[in-house]
């Protein structure tokens, strides 16, 4: 029972952290717990959520992807160009662009056996460069349909802006991919026991590649969202997002050693990070102090996870895990 209990518990860290943070900020700044604020935040979390969900696939396959921010910027920019050429749906070009970047990462890591950090660092630099190339050294690409994009990004329909609903659907899709589709299951298998996947007849590098492809596609989607919210393609955006998305995915219970992940928990992890950011914004502390607080919060969520683990081991002392003696 222990591993299962621990498995479930680790996915509860992020929701618990959200409640805790919401409570604290609710006391600190009264407006925080209002319905309006809840709705406004519900519109904001999706860029980070999509990046974190993508990151989750890479982490579940025992890797990670530090190029997601740059990929989002490039694909959002190209999406904006496509949207200007053929209308707003052209924004969706961001997804195949992200997928293509993910394919390169996946090929390098899965097939050419690069370490994930090297491969994605290389593509991070190259993709940043490409984004500048296509955009005349970083000039934003204003959307012609900016007004409609803004309406889709900010005007709530039944609680969420339409693009929020779309992103939620994409997260739901990620859940389906992870839980009910072969590719997701194979990613978990690879993360769980990389040596065994070949022995049961799978092709490990293809699985690894698909994990980074998913990661890239979700980064592309995040880029499209970014463009829609800004009403412009932002070629130099995205610095720092790779670390934020890794933090959100890990706070969301994704095991860095691979094999275990839960999309809803990752969504909760991303929400948590956003709650903290917004809460600090609204409480009006100095931006520098806010940054310190964000760091402390990331550490605290790690400590919470550790505390939970200890607690569980305490409780289950009489049934220690048999394979490993902790």
């Amino acid at each position: 029972m222990t591993p299962r209990a621990e498995g479930r518990a680790r996915f509860l860290v992020a929701p618990a952290a959200i409640l805790l943070a919401a409570g604290l900020f609710g006391v600190a700044s009264p407006g925080f717990l209002s319905l309006d604020n809840g709705l406004s935040m519900a519109g904001q979390i999706w860029i980070l959520a999509l990046l974190a969900v993508g990151q989750m696939f890479a982490i579940a396959a025992r890797g990670f992807d530090i190029s997601v921010g740059a990929v989002a910027a490039l694909s959002g920019t190209l999406g904006a160009m496509a949207a200007n050429a053929i209308g707003l749906p052209g924004l969706l070009l961001a997804v195949p662009v992200g997928l293509a970047c993910g394919t390169v990462n996946g090929w390098l890591i899965g097939r050419a056996r690069f370490q994930p950090i090297v491969a994605t660092l290389g593509t991070l630099l190259a993709v940043k460069g490409l984004a500048l190339l296509v955009s005349d050294d970083g000039q934003v690409v204003p959307l012609e349909a900016a007004a409609r994009a803004a309406a889709l990004s900010f005007d709530a329909v039944a609680g969420l802006p339409p693009l929020g609903w779309a992103a939620l659907a994409a997260v739901g899709l990620a859940h389906v991919v992870l839980r009910h589709m072969l590719v997701g299951r194979r990613i978990l298998m690879l993360g769980s026991n990389p040596e065994a996947v070949a022995l049961v007849g799978a092709v490990p590098w293809r699985i690894e590649m698909s994990a980074y492809q998913l990661c890239g596609a979700f980064a592309g989607l995040a880029g499209a969202l970014m463009t829609a919210r800004a009403g412009a393609g932002l070629p130099t955006e995205g610095a720092g997002m790779e670390l934020q998305s890794i933090a959100a995915a890990v706070i969301g219970g994704t095991v860095l050693a691979g094999g275990r992940a839960n999309v809803w928990a990752v969504l909760a992890g991303a929400t948590f990070v956003q709650v903290v950011l917004t809460g600090l914004n609204l409480s009006g502390v100095s931006p520098f102090i806010a940054q310190i607080a964000v760091g402390a919060v990331i550490l605290a969520s790690g400590l919470m996870d550790a505390g939970l683990r200890t607690l569980l081991t305490r409780f289950s002392r009489l049934s220690p895990p048999k394979g490993t003696f902790r």
């Binding site: 498995g7 590719v183 978990l188 298998m189």
Partner: protein, 511 residues
């Protein structure tokens, strides 16, 4: 059964299920297989023997399409085949049970049972690839497992996992069943269940390839035997009765069979003492264990009984209730660092996960517990290290004798020797706690390891061996402690007959 034929090399017989000839495989600088031949017959269990590193697992991987051979031919029911992948082999009816479990700890048992279907082929959805739960439960029942299908595999013990791997093989339509050391992690009872399954399959015409280092199992199950030595077939499909154990051993490596344990003259002072300990999930913190100087205590228990857990506690590796002491010094269960400092060596059961430093050299693997003694002002004296460890490695006949080669590149038996050497190199060694010290280790290496254990005991070290291998227990221990459902069910003298031990283990009749 064996007298029927004396022409094993006749490849044209129509009951031949699978014939592999001239198989060769080179890995970098190592030649795993030179020219191996193997012929399996329908309805027969075929044993494959060979010392650690002889190439058995490599041959298996080639048969099941996981590895492409450099040379050689494989014919399935007379038709030549060349598998590009495991999936193709499985489609052709060759079903593998691997030595190093090909299971996924984080996934559920149900998903693990469906792993072949999940891994192979195109398609989008997992749904229909998950095997029917009712049938899955049937297979689990057949191998004697009563577990929740939705539980993660990681919640099972090593032995239970092995049975899951066997159950998974049952899910496939099987013409040739390939078992690579399936019993290494099983106790006698579970092994019997496995054998029943294999026999039933064979009765319906399946050919089975069975790899094991245990002669009694081979004699109990196999109809024919092939012996590999250094990548070559040296005995080809001989009926099982034709060669004696000595002859087979000789064919494998040219060594003799090991001696029985020396008698313990008189009982010496207690060295390793545990009071109020718990054993596994049933434990209530009421067990006392005492191991005396020079004594080898065998701790026996079925899988899940708590024997390994109790042993781990005694070695300081697992936290729990109770108190432990060596000599005058006491320590808490789980304080492995203090235990090591007090001179208690510990050899874990799962050598890959808990024992080996795969990336480090053999010498560094062996010397890790004695580093304190090798350091002068934080400076490690390389020569002293070699002087401390190399004689041990030589005595344990490490093969190949390359103390500076990475541990990951040694075969299982030799990796195990590294862990034993590490134990022997503990400064001020007073007690050794060994869990499954020869799991998956060939006869020769096993003899070497047993000799080393006996020698240590003879020099006054208190030894506790926890093992699910009754033979091992009987050649090693001076006294048996039997753990059943978390209690010390019986203490038996060295002279106790095998039947009494078995009875105590399973709790069937009065011991």
């Amino acid at each position: 059964m064996s007298a029927s034929d004396d022409a094993p090399s006749d490849d044209t017989r129509d009951d031949l299920a699978l014939v592999a000839t001239g198989i060769a495989k080179v890995y970098g600088a190592t030649c795993a297989l030179r020219s191996a031949r193997l012929a399996l017959r329908r309805g027969r269990v075929h044993a494959l023997l060979g010392e650690n590193g002889a190439g058995k697992s490599t041959l298996v991987k080639i048969l099941v399409g996981a590895v492409t051979p450099d040379a050689g031919h494989i014919a399935l029911a007379g038709a030549p085949v060349a598998f590009g992948s495991v999936t193709q082999a499985i489609r052709a009816g060759i079903v593998p049970i691997y030595q190093h479990l090909s299971l996924f700890p984080e996934l559920s048992i149900h998903e693990n049972l469906s792993a072949f279907a999940l891994a192979a082929g195109g398609g989008l959805w997992t749904g229909r690839r998950l095997v029917d739960p009712a049938r899955a439960r049937g297979w689990l029942k057949e191998v004697g497992l009563d577990v929740d299908l939705a539980a993660p595999l990681g919640s099972l013990s090593l032995g239970e996992r092995q049975l899951v791997e066997v159950a998974r093989a049952l899910s496939l339509d099987c013409r040739v069943l390939v078992l690579d050391e399936p019993t290494a992690a099983l106790n006698a009872d579970e092994a019997d269940r496995l054998f029943a399954v294999v026999r039933r399959l064979c009765a319906s015409g399946t050919a089975a390839l069975f790899i094991s280092h245990r002669f009694d199992e081979i004699e109990a199950l196999a109809d024919e035997v092939t012996v590999l030595r250094d990548g070559r077939t040296v005995i080809d499909a001989a009926p099982i009765g034709r060669h004696s154990r000595e002859e087979l051993t000789h064919a494998m490596l040219g060594a003799g069979v090991e001696a029985a344990p020396a008698r313990l003259s008189e009982r010496a002072a207690p060295v390793l003492v545990g009071r109020g300990l718990a054993a596994g999930r049933h434990g209530r913190g009421s067990l006392d264990v005492i191991v005396h100087a020079g004594e080898i205590v065998g701790l026996a228990g079925l899988i899940g009984s708590g024997a390994l857990s109790l042993a781990a506690t005694l070695g300081g590796a697992q936290a729990g209730p109770g108190e432990l002491s060596v000599g005058d010094a006491s320590f808490m269960p789980g304080d492995r660092r203090r235990a090591a400092a007090l001179g208690i060596a510990y050899v874990p059961a799962d050598r890959h996960a808990e024992g080996l430093f795969g990336a480090l050299s053999a010498r560094r693997n062996a010397s890790v517990s004695g580093l304190g003694r090798l350091a002068r002002l934080g400076w490690l004296r390389a020569r002293a290290e070699a002087q401390m460890v190399d004689p041990l490695l030589r005595r344990l006949k490490l093969h190949p004798a390359l103390p500076e080669a990475e541990a990951a590149t040694f075969s299982g038996g030799n990796q195990q020797k590294l862990l034993i050497a590490r134990g022997l190199a503990v400064p001020g060694l007073k007690a050794m706690v060994l869990l499954e010290p020869t799991r998956g280790v060939d006869v020769a290496a096993r003899g070497v390891i047993h000799d080393a254990i006996r020698e240590a005991a003879a020099s006054g070290v208190a030894v506790l061996v926890a093992t699910s291998d009754l033979d091992e227990l009987m050649v090693l221990a001076h006294r048996y402690l039997v753990v059943r459902e978390g209690t010390l069910a019986a203490e038996l003298p060295r002279s106790a007959p095998r039947a009494a031990l078995l009875a105590a283990l399973s709790g069937s009749a009065a011991a």
